[in-house]
């Protein structure tokens, strides 16, 4: 495999960006159900990148990962690793590491034997195997557990063994299929830190599947957001959160106040429920759908509340609201509102020090036009 640089790179040299480029070209997987599980997806994952495939269950993200791994056959399209088409290469010859939600450790083997498994399949010599196993177990902080069987380890430790096993043979890329899904909250965040550190140290391409938006925002270089078989948006966590293109993206990542506009003229101003609102052209999504059906989204932390309309600063967009409920979150409060004549549900995040708001209070919610985002609905 001359095109493969990862195999030759040493696994533990920090900072090397020696990963593999993974290119999906018009990839489709159709099981013959109502709609294809994966419908004409094109995506390029850069060498050394931490790419998260995020989406609700059934959105096609796991199918896409299985297609990359080779566990599913393509209905159409190609998958290219570092320029080589692997669409018809069986999984055991793709040289991709994989981490599973259920660990998938071999129960009849010890920790050391599990980790040595991929090296033995590649006929590495004994001393080489022993050295690499010790090295990678140190990397995942499991030194001294060599002779334990998987059943004697905790869930977190088992997943670390699986991680060691998946990276010890320096695969072209690591595919992670909701690897933290079976762990409790504390372990999850500990392992998130671990995975990020190992990604930094190994420097190879990671493709991570999850339905957990926090995990995705926390770990990824970029996120590909999946929605019913297609990719809704690809971008950095900041881009997806701050500059959503579609209403689906805005709703999936974080909380949003949504004002549906239908087909609106997105020029200087528009009226919503009798209020005249300003528009900042920089906040209109580039998505073509925005011209036919659009919506304004505003994050709760960008919404301020005042008691009277005349307290709203000039140039801000405002809407009358009633407090439906107050959630005390420690550092801040979230006001649950009903907004405008259409009585839309809304949220505003206010400082815990900032006045008292009781259920039933009438307020005015306002935000700057540049804080809002106009997306395709």
């Amino acid at each position: 495999m001359t095109h493969d640089t990862t195999v030759k790179a040493t696994g533990s040299s920090p900072g090397t960006r020696s990963g593999t480029e993974i290119r999906l070209d018009h990839v489709t997987k159709d099981y013959g159900l109502e709609a294809p599980a994966v419908d004409d997806i094109s995506l390029t994952i850069e060498p050394g990148e931490f790419m998260t495939l995020l989406g609700p269950s059934g959105s096609g993200k796991t199918t896409t990962l299985n297609l990359i791994a080779g566990f599913e056959t393509l209905t159409a399209g190609t998958i290219v690793l570092n320029g080589a088409d692997v669409s018809n290469v069986p999984p055991h010859r793709r040289n991709l590491g994989m981490l599973f939600q259920h660990y998938a450790l071999f129960p009849h083997m010890t920790v050391a034997q599990n980790v040595a498994y991929p090296l033995r399949e590649r006929r590495a010599d004994k001393r080489e195997i022993a050295r690499k196993v010790a090295e990678v177990l140190e990397l995942v902080q499991l030194t001294g557990r060599d002779d334990h069987h998987p059943a004697q380890l905790s869930g977190g430790q088992q997943q670390r063994v699986a991680l060691a096993r998946a990276i010890v043979f320096e695969p072209r890329a690591l595919l992670l299929d909701e690897p933290l899904g079976a762990l409790d909250r504390n372990l999850r965040s500990a392992l998130q830190v671990e995975i990020r550190r190992i990604h930094r140290e190994v420097g190879s391409t990671f493709v991570f599947v999850t339905h957990d938006q926090e995990e995705a925002l926390n770990l990824s270089d970029r996120i590909a957001l999946f929605n019913s078989g297609h990719i809704e948006q690809v971008g950095t966590p900041q881009q997806l959160y701050a500059e959503p293109e579609t209403l689906f993206t805005a709703r999936f990542l974080g909380d949003s106040n949504v004002f549906e506009l239908g087909q609106a003229a997105l020029d200087e101003n528009l009226t919503w429920d009798g209020e005249t609102w300003g528009i900042d052209p920089g906040t209109v999504a580039a998505h073509p759908g925005v011209r036919t059906r659009s919506a304004i989204v505003v994050r709760p932390e960008d919404v301020e509340v005042v008691n009277r309309l005349d307290e709203v600063p000039a140039g801000a967009n405002a809407v009358r609201a009633t407090v439906r409920d107050v959630e005390y979150m420690g550092a801040y409060r979230t006001l649950l509102l009903t907004m405008g004549e259409r009585r839309l549900p809304g949220r505003a995040r206010v400082s815990a020090l900032h006045g008292d708001h009781a259920v039933g209070d009438d307020l005015v919610a306002w935000w700057r036009p540049r804080a809002q985002r106009i997306v395709a609905a």
Binding site: P90, H92, G97, P107, H108, E121
Partner: protein
Amino acid sequence: MSFSGAPTFQWPPRGFSWRLYHNFFTSPVWLDSLRNSLLVALLTALLATTVGTAAAVALSRLHGRLARFVRTLLMVPIVAPAIVVAVAVYISFLGWRLTGTVPGYVLAHTAIAVPYVLVSVTGALGGFDQRLLKASASLGASPWRSFVRVTMPLISRGILTGAIFAFIVSFDEVVIALFLRSPQFQTMPVQMYNSVTVEIDPTISAASSLMVVAVTIIFLVPQLLRGRARRR
């Protein structure tokens, strides 16, 4: 009774002697039949275990009507009356010139032993996590290597149990063997049958005792192995 000193069948046995065992182990007829039986049973166990395990693994991955049909087909020998199977085997083997030959015995016995292997290996596969095979493939193992290094060790008890059943089914089998026998080649159950119907030879009491002991020991093997595995 096998330790009786009397030259004919008698109850209650009189005296104690190893004479009948001595007869057994010095008679070329009995020893030949024992050797034949062991040979046929070993080869049957080998073939039936291979075929039965392969079938069980394949069927565990298939679903739907075809898989159910194949499974039922493989189980037929267990429910078909032995005499029906024997006559059918006899008629076909006559044409193929397989009567009285080792391959003939082995093939016929394999047909009736495969269902036992199929059942025991299918049972073991029920507790086997197929997802391990995905992990194994992702680590670079071909499907065959995955079978050898992951599937087989984890279902070994089912395979061993199936092999033992296959051995015993063949070792004990008399109806088909009666049809397939030739003057030169007889299995032990056939020789035992002869010795009571034709010769009235009390050596059979030693032979049957030996058979019971042998079969019992073979059945105990997995129990002993399990005990050892647990202590480990």
